[in-house]
Symmetry: C2
Subunit: 389 residues, 2 copies
């Protein structure tokens, strides 16, 4: 299968791998029992659920499958991690630390907590949007309960040194959560190695279906539910278990298990070709994020004098689909908090473009993008009132 258009917005959402769709299909009709039901179709799906949980646990190096809680989205996992841990531990402290480059679902959860009696510290990033362990350590207080720093950033692709950050947290007896929504299925994510006590990952960012994600919760972590009801998922995520979506997610994980390493290498070649050529051919272009410690599939640029929205509009005319930054926040048209944290000026931020590649991106696509992006930037430069002509 191949798109007739060039889709370079894989950080927003990925197409579902046809092998995943095929795996899900029987569970919509023929094998549709509720795993909480006691009859055969229910119990069969209970077994399927636990098999998927084991596949997921193995993928991220969890010690046992019960450490994996399936949720409806990474947003929900992050809300549960942040609010569930802070609420459950409030007798021991009310201080939360999050980085300033987190996804909105972490930042808005933190803001909600700060409106409800908690204190939040926001960690500064360096010019590449990276969070350093020493910045984390300096922010830890005796009443700090939890630190949340994302594995890699969704807008600029910078990978954070999470294992060093986890070590700092544990040295001070503080829990560590990382949002791995952009890394899981793209680069290695292993809780034994990165030391996370809680870890979020999402299906639809790695060629699985939407509507399912997980939260890894290390055994012994004190956390309470944020969605209450029938007590599914160890009491931490009530709701009828979404078997078709979980089967799809597990299939996406199995595929990633086999293909991730080679795909990572392939994407790095394409990404680097894209970055090198854009910086070479377009003199007003700059790279956002870390030059080497970055996701294999994200290239984020800024273009002086012109607007990211206009670039997207014109690329779209050529069939190239991209974003300025996070899809979630694009309708807001506010300056990206990530690029602001990198120390960029407002006009630089508004000239930003994110190209996020995926498994259907070809070298021909990259060549086409480089060619058309030059034309678009040239066209917009001519219209820009900020360039002396």
């Amino acid at each position: 299968m191949k798109y007739n258009k060039i889709y370079t917005d894989c950080a927003a959402t990925t197409p579902v791998d046809p092998r995943v769709i095929k795996a899900m299909m029987p569970y919509f009709f023929v094998k549709m029992g509720n795993p909480a039901s006691m009859h055969k179709m229910g119990q069969d799906n209970f077994e399927v659920l636990e098999k998927c949980r084991q596949i997921t646990a193995d993928f991220v190096g969890a010690a046992k499958k019960e450490e994996i809680i399936f949720t409806g989205s990474a947003t929900e996992s992050n809300n549960l991690a942040i609010k569930g841990v802070m609420w459950a531990n409030q007798k021991n402290g009310k201080h939360l630390i999050v980085s300033s480059v987190e996804h909105d679902c972490i930042l808005e959860s933190a803001k909600w907590l700060s409106r409800n009696g908690f204190e939040v510290s926001y960690l500064a990033a360096d010019e590449y949007g990276m969070i350093h362990p020493e910045t984390v350590e300096a922010a830890i207080r005796p009443d700090t309960i939890l630190v949340s720093v994302m594995h890699a950033n969704n807008e600029i692709g910078t990978i954070n040194p999470v294992s060093e950050i986890a070590k700092v947290c544990h040295k001070h007896g503080v829990l560590f959560h990382t949002d791995a929504a952009q890394t899981c299925g793209k680069i290695e994510v292993n809780v034994q190695k990165n030391g996370a006590d809680l870890l979020t990952a999402s299906s639809h960012k790695m060629y699985g279906p939407k509507g399912v994600a997980f939260l890894y919760i290390k055994t012994g972590t004190v956390i309470e539910a944020w969605t209450h009801g029938g007590g599914q998922e160890g009491g931490l995520r009530s709701s009828t278990v979404n078997i078709p979506a979980i089967v799809g997610f597990a299939k996406a994980i199995e595929i990633a298990n086999k293909e991730m390493a080679s795909e990572e290498k392939r994407l790095i070649v394409l990404r680097d070709k894209l970055i090198k050529n854009v910086l070479k051919e377009i003199p007003t272009a700059g790279l956002n994020g870390h030059p080497s410690k970055r996701l294999p599939n994200i290239a984020s640029f800024r273009f002086a004098y012109i607007e990211g929205e206009s670039i997207i509009y014109w690329l779209n005319e050529y069939g190239i689909m991209a974003s300025t930054g996070s899809a979630c926040s694009s309708p807001k048209l506010t300056a990206s908090h990530v690029l602001t944290a990198c120390g960029l000026r407002k006009e630089e931020i508004h000239g930003s473009l994110r190209l996020s590649l995926g498994k259907w991106t070809t070298e021909k696509d990259i060549d086409f993008i480089i060619e058309k992006l030059q034309i678009v930037v040239e066209k917009l430069n001519k219209l820009s009132p900020f360039i002396k002509k």
Copy 2:
């Protein structure tokens, strides 16, 4: 399509209608854009999303489509309704009223609120599990903010007089929420007629996919988000919008629009045949729930002297799949709170069986169930230590 087994657990979850699966398919791969993205595939899906919202709004008689918020499950909708309204209005009062026969997601949300500074009153039901308007009125206090009474009960099928309850609430300036997860798509649900300020419905209870539900919120209702993030769904439900699932839900609604009325009549005939014959042929059987004001698809029985779990086990051997009560709470093996609220004794509750029919249930299935249920009950009666032989 037809099951080779007899599935009578449609109140737990329904199979996805093949027409719904077909409608969803293109949105997994070809039309997979994130509606928050600014490019063509994103904007195309934004239009699809708003079209689905309009279909949903029209189905329940909402004044405008923005009154419909898509969520991930009825549990999530109910959590948002209860916690979101109570939290947002806490300066005006901290008193919540819920019925004692609500689904666990309402009851557990209420319990969480009562652990966090709110006061909750639980409404008593009559012997049929029905909640009466006068019971509601007697519980309302000056500091009452919200009343939540389900449209129809998921275990016994009793339909509550929600429009009368809404009138009582509004007379006292109190908001009214109803959980219509079991009624929407089965009997008429119209917010203009039932007067609900907030209403929950679920896709997978009406032949749509799992992982999607909605909350109707009347314009002007003061409510705050319970899941924070990118600000999707009018800021009330952050998370990447699950387009395939929403498209499926809207298709299920369109099908219900056309077929619900005739299907309701068909199911009532089957249900009544089942009830009449079980009560006639099995002398130890009793009907749970209201004799006439009940869902077209739910028949709930109690059998003296024997255990519901044993009945399910033996029916399962004949390929008949049923539940004792709510699938959500069946693994807990605690006595059903619904049947307790109806005034049943513990031994009567433990002998309960719910048969919930659906669009693939045939008259032949009903005949088969009546025949096999007699055999199973007879077999278990012989083993029961409570019957004098």
